[in-house]
Subunit: 207 residues, 2 copies
């Protein structure tokens, strides 16, 4: 773990030197990490210089979906059976990223609310997604993950009504556990709420 | 791991001796394990003698929800930070279960599609849930978990249309990866499709 933290510190220094702002995206499987990235890439456009490291466990699916929107995409090699990315895998992936021509870097972690919590990847901001379909209680059930988040995004807002999503309860749980986090609510499918998220990205980039 | 498998074998012998049929429920967080159990308990009724071991990581939430439907409920103690139940935790929990008056035992695992795959709990049948809101690709992305399943349940069928769920693709993926599995499709919320699942449980109980 000490070794892993050292590697993360190396990654962080490398990214900061290149003036790249880095996000580590974590959530349950199926909360919409890839869809959020697809929409973010499409909306901010190629000129914004976003790179992506994706940590799919077994398939090329996410990489294939993202490759439609960017050629700045590197797949991190996740050890078979692993439930999170680590800083070493990210460091290796970064060798293939043109950091000097990258403003924002998204690292799409393995879909998991337990394992990634303890692994610093060298990111600036940790972003946790909570979809309206998975239950308002998830912040309470997975506190280390939600507590460590700098940003919390309620996704799939278009499905909130159909799923019987209790928005007040969810926000109260997020504020209780993810109390360091800036909170967004959006649907990457309909585009609803995307503007605040995109503004946040543009505002936070390193100059 | 060898020790864990031995413990699982002990649990299995103990359950079979008591003529208890045991299910290990696994899925992403928020796929509906607790809701399925609530509905199953409500529909089959107290006279059917169902016991539940629930492995919530940090909260009492699942246990509280299930306690409304049964008094045959034991919370397994999951080590802080653990992403799965193990046979030792189940063995300890079983000390509090009246096995001789139990026909079906459900073990609700930690919500996780990676870690629980490798841990035999001594169950007869492993049941994986895939909700219509989390994406058709999950069986391909988490093959060890889906491949090891004896039963695969597509949950939240009431949200399929709103979520744009591609049922054919999902079933094709399940048949490809969970090819040992009997497949059910249902909504525990509306009750749609519950009948086949309940019939299956009644039919499979040990006599």
């Amino acid at each position: 773990m000490a070794k892993s933290d050292e590697l993360a510190a190396d990654v962080r220094r490398r990214l900061q030197a290149a003036r790249v702002l880095t996000f580590n995206l974590v959530s349950s499987p199926g909360s919409g990490k890839t869809t959020l990235l697809e929409r973010t890439l499409a909306d901010l456009g190629a000129e914004f210089a976003i790179s992506v490291v994706t940590g799919d466990v077994q398939t090329q699916n996410d990489a294939d979906r993202l490759a439609r929107h960017t050629d700045r995409l590197v797949q991190a090699v996740v050890t078979n059976g692993a439930c999170h990315l680590d800083a070493r895998q990210v460091a290796t992936a970064l060798d293939e990223v043109d950091l000097n021509n990258t403003r924002l870097l998204f690292i799409e972690n393995v879909g998991n609310l337990v394992c990634p919590a303890d692994y610093d990847l060298g990111e600036d901001l940790r972003v946790v997604l909570l979809s309206t379909t998975e239950g308002e209680d998830k912040p309470l059930k997975y506190p280390p993950m939600f507590h460590s988040a700098d940003v919390a995004i309620v996704t799939k807002s278009d499905l909130a009504a159909a799923a019987g999503f209790n928005r007040e309860q969810a926000l109260a749980n997020l504020k209780r556990v993810s109390h360091h986090a800036e909170i967004f609510e959006l649907s990457a499918k309909t585009g609803d709420g995307m503007r605040s998220w995109l503004d946040f990205l543009v505002k936070r980039q390193r100059v």
